[in-house]
């Protein structure tokens, strides 16, 4: 494990991170006004490459998430252009889905959105023969649709069923979100929005404010503070994939 990840897991603040946060503030200050910033310290200009100073993450508070609500799913469909597939239900693409849980003995009910967990040790990336599955330095896991050969090994390897194979011709998405028959796709954490300093579409859409997006590496960010103060859970923590998506209240 890299030194960087260790620090992040301990939730500590290294000197390097501290310095980098300062640099990010400086970058943020010169950004055009009107661009919504999740927090000044996290912003960087789109021209800059992704950097491992950040580790983007999502914290989902299942106490707030409402059963039956799927605003986040609709927002994702709209933002990323999926969901109009004409195929059988089992073949439909599903970047994000609502999962309902009922505890065996107590009957307690929990509802939560499930999507790519943006693992720090992503099995999908390990198994991909061509390198089409990759992890950006800031922790976002993506598929390069130009290299994906559609072998679906990544789907076999993902423990969260987070990836979908496109079974039919689709309208090619926007430039920032190319889609194509015969390739695999999944939640991108709205990388195109994040790079502009915005929140992912699902986070924006949630009226209950059940989702918090931010930089797990920035100790001042809301997400990092909540993760360090409250009990949160990584799904299938036993696999030690260190997902960037964490849950509260399960």
């Amino acid at each position: 494990m890299s030194e960087h990840q260790e620090q992040e897991m301990e939730g500590g603040l290294s000197r390097r991170q501290f310095v980098s946060a300062g640099a990010a503030v400086a970058v943020g200050a010169v950004l055009a006004p009107g661009v919504f910033l999740h927090s000044v310290a996290q912003a960087r200009s789109p021209a800059e490459g992704a950097s491992n100073y950040q580790r983007w993450g999502l914290l989902i508070d299942t106490n707030k998430c409402r059963t039956g609500c799927d605003d986040c799913v609709s927002a994702c469909k709209k933002e990323n252009g999926w969901g109009n597939e004409q195929v059988r239900d089992e073949q439909k693409v599903q970047w994000i889905r609502k999962v309902d849980l009922k505890e065996h003995h107590t009957g307690r009910e929990v509802s939560l959105p499930m999507m790519c967990q943006h693992c720090a040790e992503p099995p999908c990336v390990d198994v991909c023969p061509t390198g089409a599955s990759f992890k950006r330095a800031d922790g976002i896991v993506l598929v390069d649709k130009h290299i994906c050969i559609g072998c679906r090994y990544c789907m076999m390897a993902c423990p969260y069923k987070a990836r979908s194979f496109v079974h039919e011709d689709v309208i090619h998405g926007d430039a920032y979100m190319p889609r194509g028959k015969g390739t695999v796709e999944s939640c991108t954490l709205c990388v195109h929005r994040v790079d502009k300093g915005q929140n992912p579409a699902c986070v924006e859409s949630c009226k209950e404010k059940a989702m918090t997006f931010g930089d797990l590496n920035d100790p001042k960010s809301e997400i990092a503070q909540r993760v360090s103060q409250y009990a949160t859970r990584q799904i299938r923590a036993d696999l030690k994939l260190n997902p960037g998506v964490r849950y509260e209240g399960i």
């Binding site: 073949q91 505890e103 065996h104 198994v127 994906c148 390897a157 194979f165 496109v166 039919e168």
Partner: protein, 407 residues
């Protein structure tokens, strides 16, 4: 031992042409299926976003695994120095290449983007066991090719052993690699076991020997060449041993799983209430692919029957396909366990057993791969000298006084 003569088959008879035509029909059907799948996308198949590897993988993995096993006969001859098997070695190499080519064709044509094959060959992620397999498969063809060459070109005969050892090691690694494709999937409890690789090696021996037996009997019957019973009897006893070994390792696999609490769901599903998967396991894999062939190989009653041996071999093949189906599809339909202690529901079949019904396209694509293997062998024996003119008992083994039985 006297030097054996090898020769091409004549290949002008009506039945030979008819056989090629039959294979050609299946090849065409497979090709048409692949084109249709590429045109409409996988929407027309039974595969979906829960069961992502379907019937084509069942055939492809079976053929690839069998390819490595088919080479076993040659390995016994050159690596373990059993001269009895020497005349049988060239066909063994040819069969190995043929099965591998057939399996790879199916694997590639089932990709979402088969047109990007060149991408698969130029972009490598060396952490991926899948990428390693691409190298292992192509390398296997090259190694066996060289091995065949050393074997068939008299002046190179001295190197046969070295080439044989290389091919032997390569094939063990190859099957380990194929098994590991599944072994690496830690998220899926059916596959997450170190037994996957050794299981695949033993399966390969059984499948490969069965296919070898059917092929050599058919080739000699159809060409009217003499095939002594001692050849059949030896191969049959090998087959029996391998089939028994497969049953044994399958038993070990399930018993260890039963010992591990987290795997009880998988086990209950496969062994007891998995519907078609349970049936395929007990009836297909265990009974047709295991118990029946063992009886046919070992029982006194069938000792002198060639037909019984052929039937036993075909059963091993059918049982092997059933086994692949149970491993590949059965391992995927079970819901992924993400929230222990909770009942799970969603609009994306979380918490449910997924459905999969293979489509004709997938079936034809798979059979197309079998047809490719058949064509490579059938044409191979016509253009090159793979088959000894006679495999009569006296020709292969001077010590054999009389055949163990009549044909």
């Amino acid at each position: 031992m006297k030097v054996l003569d090898y020769s091409e088959i004549e290949g002008r008879s009506g039945s030979y042409i008819g056989w090629l035509a039959l294979l050609g029909v299946f090849l065409a059907l497979g090709g048409a299926a692949a084109l249709t799948m590429e045109h409409y996308g996988h929407a027309i198949t039974g595969m979906n976003n829960q069961v992502v590897w379907g019937m084509p993988h069942v055939f492809a993995v079976f053929l690839i695994v069998a390819a490595s096993g088919a080479l076993n006969v040659a390995s016994i001859a050159s690596v373990f120095g059993k001269s009895f098997y020497k005349p049988l070695a060239p066909l063994s190499g040819l069969l190995a290449i043929a099965l591998l080519v057939g399996g790879l064709a199916v694997l590639v044509l089932d990709l979402g983007r088969p047109d990007r094959l060149i991408v698969a060959m130029t972009y490598y992620n060396f952490k991926s066991i899948f990428a390693w397999n691409i190298i292992l498969y192509t390398g296997f063809i090259a190694v066996v090719y060289v091995y065949l060459w050393m074997m068939m070109e008299r002046r190179f005969n001295a190197h046969t052993k070295k080439a044989g050892v290389a091919a032997f090691s390569w094939r063990l690694i190859l099957t380990t690699g194929t098994g590991s494709i599944f072994g690496f999937l830690v998220a899926r409890s059916a596959y997450d076991t170190a037994l996957m690789a050794p299981m695949f090696i033993i399966m390969s021996l059984a499948f490969g020997t069965a296919i070898y037996l059917v092929t050599i009997i058919a080739a000699y019957r159809w060409t009217g060449r003499e095939l002594g019973f001692s050849v059949i009897a030896r191969l049959r006893s090998l087959l029996g041993t391998f089939v028994a070994a497969v049953l044994l390792i399958v038993a070990i696999y399930h018993l260890t799983n039963l010992y591990i609490t987290q795997k009880h769901d998988v086990e209950r599903f496969i062994l007891a209430d998995g519907g078609v998967y349970t049936a395929l396991f007990w009836v297909g894999q265990v009974f047709i692919g295991g118990v029946l062939p063992l009886w046919l190989c070992w029982h006194k009653r069938w000792q002198s029957s060639v037909t019984a041996t052929v039937v036993a071999s075909l059963f091993v093949v059918l049982g092997g396909l059933a086994q692949m189906y149970v491993i590949i599809i059965g391992g995927q339909v079970l819901p992924l366990e993400m929230f222990p202690g909770f009942d799970v529901t969603s609009g994306f079949s979380d918490g449910q057993v997924a459905r999969y019904t293979p489509s004709v396209y997938e079936l034809f694509l798979g059979l197309g791969g079998v047809a490719i293997a058949g064509l490579v062998v059938s044409v191979g024996v016509k253009i090159l000298r793979f088959l000894p003119v006679s495999l009569a008992d006296s020709a292969v083994d001077p010590h054999v006084k009389s055949a163990a039985g009549k044909q």
